[in-house]
Every structure is written in C-alpha cells, then in structure tokens.
C-alpha cells in the first residue's frame, strides 16, 4: 500500500507540474493579445512568484516519491541494467535529473539576483517536451 500511496502522490505532483508548464507554454501566451508588454511582464512576474513557492516543492516531492519507487525496480538485488524496464527507468531518471538541474540553476540565479543564461528562456518548452517523454517512458517501461 505504501507503494500505491507514493505512486498517487507522484502522479498528482506530475499533473500539477507538467500541467502548469503546458499552461505556461501553450495557454498563457494568449494574454499577449489583451495586455501590453509591460502589463504582460508584470502578470508573468506575479504568476512566477507564486509558482516559485509551489513548483520547487512539488518537484522535490516528485523526486522523493520517484526515488522510493525507483528502488523497487533498481537495487542491489535486481541489478541496474538487466532488463529493458531498468534501462527505460534509468533514461527516465536522467531526463528528470536534467529538469531538476535546470530548476536548481534558475532558482540559484534568482537568489544571487543574476540573469540566467539566455538559453533558459526556452526552459519551459524543454521541460514540457521532456515531461511528456517521461510520462511516455513511465508507461512504456512496463510493457517492453
């Protein structure tokens, strides 16, 4: 039952995290039609400020619950690269760590009040595509 609990928590966190990124990349740009550049920037700042309180915690819970489930399939008894499931799970893990690193980098630049590298402007698009790949891997790994 503890596995199911971790799975439900993992899934709910993934929903709010990837769902928000989808809204940010696909839906929110619609605001540009009714707001001028300055208003749009102010709105995005207000949304980002609240998002920064919620999403790092949800990503942390995602990683912790994911780590708990990870240890069921990859451990010293089961091995690391013995089955296709384990290989797909490791790819999923690497993709998740790339997203987590990007979030840590963004937050740290914010903390030291320095602008992030220009490539980070596209970070949310990258997270959306990577997030979708992670969801697909999460289901695919059980049928390969």
């Amino acid at each position: 039952m503890s596995y199911t609990l971790a799975l439900v928590i993992h899934l709910l966190c993934a929903i709010i995290f990837i769902g928000f990124v989808f809204a940010d990349v696909v839906v929110l740009p619609a605001m540009k039609k009714v707001l001028n550049d300055e208003e749009h920037q102010n709105v995005m700042n207000a949304i980002s400020n609240r998002a920064r309180k919620i999403f790092p915690i949800s990503v942390l819970i995602l990683i912790l619950s994911g780590g708990f489930m990870f240890s069921k399939y990859i451990n010293s008894d089961a091995g690391m690269f013995n089955t296709p499931l384990q290989i797909l799970l490791l790819i999923k893990f690497i993709l998740a760590m790339i997203i987590a690193s990007g979030i840590v980098y963004s937050l740290s630049r914010k903390l030291v009040k320095k602008p992030p590298h220009p490539i980070m402007k596209h970070f949310h698009k990258f997270v959306l595509v990577t997030g979708i790949c992670i969801v697909i891997l999460a289901k695919l790994m059980f049928v390969v």
């Binding site: 199911t4 439900v8 929903i15 839906v27 919620i54 969801v135």
Partner: protein, 144 residues
C-alpha cells in the same frame, strides 16, 4: 500495446486538463491579489478564449480513451458490479460525468452569453477536487 498507447494519451490529457485547473485555482489568483479584479478578469478572458479551443477537445480525448479502457474492466463478460475494482471504476465514471456536465454547462452559457448560476463560480475548484479524487481512484482501484 494498443492499451498502453491509449493509457498514455489518457494520462497526458489528464495532466493537461487537471494541471491547468490547478494553475487556475491556485496560481493565477496571484494576479488578482496584485493587480485587482478587473485586470484579472481581462487576463482570464484572454486565457479562456484560448482555453476553450484546447480543453474541450482534451476532455473529449479523456472520455474517448477512458471509455476504451473502461470496456476492458467492465463489460458483459466480466460483469458490472462484481468486484471492488468495478465499483471504484463506476465511482470514477460518476465523478467524470459531474465534471463533463459542468464543462458542457459552462460552454453553453458562454455560447449563449448567459450568466451561469452562482454555484458555478467555483466550478474550477470543484473540478480540481473531483480531478484529484479521480486520480486517486484510478490508482486505488488496482490494489483493492
């Protein structure tokens, strides 16, 4: 493999739908607090304009893929209320129908330019709670 493909589409649609509702209920009100109700209403109007193009097809996809998977667990051979899993799946379907009725009513009001009843002002909050319950049921029904 067909079932897995349908499951992935169902999951991605759920992420996009519930994730947006979460953002709308929890994250976007940050704009209302900072810039006032009127500004927030303008912003939401623009978002809803795009949202109306994206979310109804997503709900249709969710129902179509969900219906396909439903027939694997509830059909004339397996019965309808014979196992705890089937009962939980029926409850899940009931919650889904509540959300769908709300979506249809909201769209009807939008198209006919009628004011929805006051109860529907908090429809996204109800949909978020129902959505979370649906996700929990989706996992719980496989372990009861």
């Amino acid at each position: 493999m067909e079932y897995t493909l349908i499951l992935i589409i169902h999951l991605l649609s759920a992420i996009i739908f519930i994730g947006f509702i979460f953002a709308d209920v929890i994250v976007f009100p940050a704009v209302k607090n900072k810039f006032g109700q009127e500004f927030h209403d303008n912003m939401i109007e623009a978002i809803v304009g795009r949202g109306l193009k994206i979310y109804p097809p997503i709900v249709l996809l969710l129902m179509g893929t969900g219906g396909y998977m439903f027939t694997k667990y509830i059909n004339s051979t397996l019965g309808y209320f014979d196992t705890p899993m089937q009962v939980l799946l029926w409850i899940k379907v009931f919650f889904v129908l509540l959300i769908v009725l709300g979506v249809i009513y909201t769209m009807y009001c939008k198209l006919t330019k009628k004011e929805p009843v006051a109860f529907m002002n908090y429809f996204h909050t109800y949909a978020l709670v129902l959505g979370i319950a649906i996700v929990i049921l989706a996992k719980l029904m496989f372990v009861v």
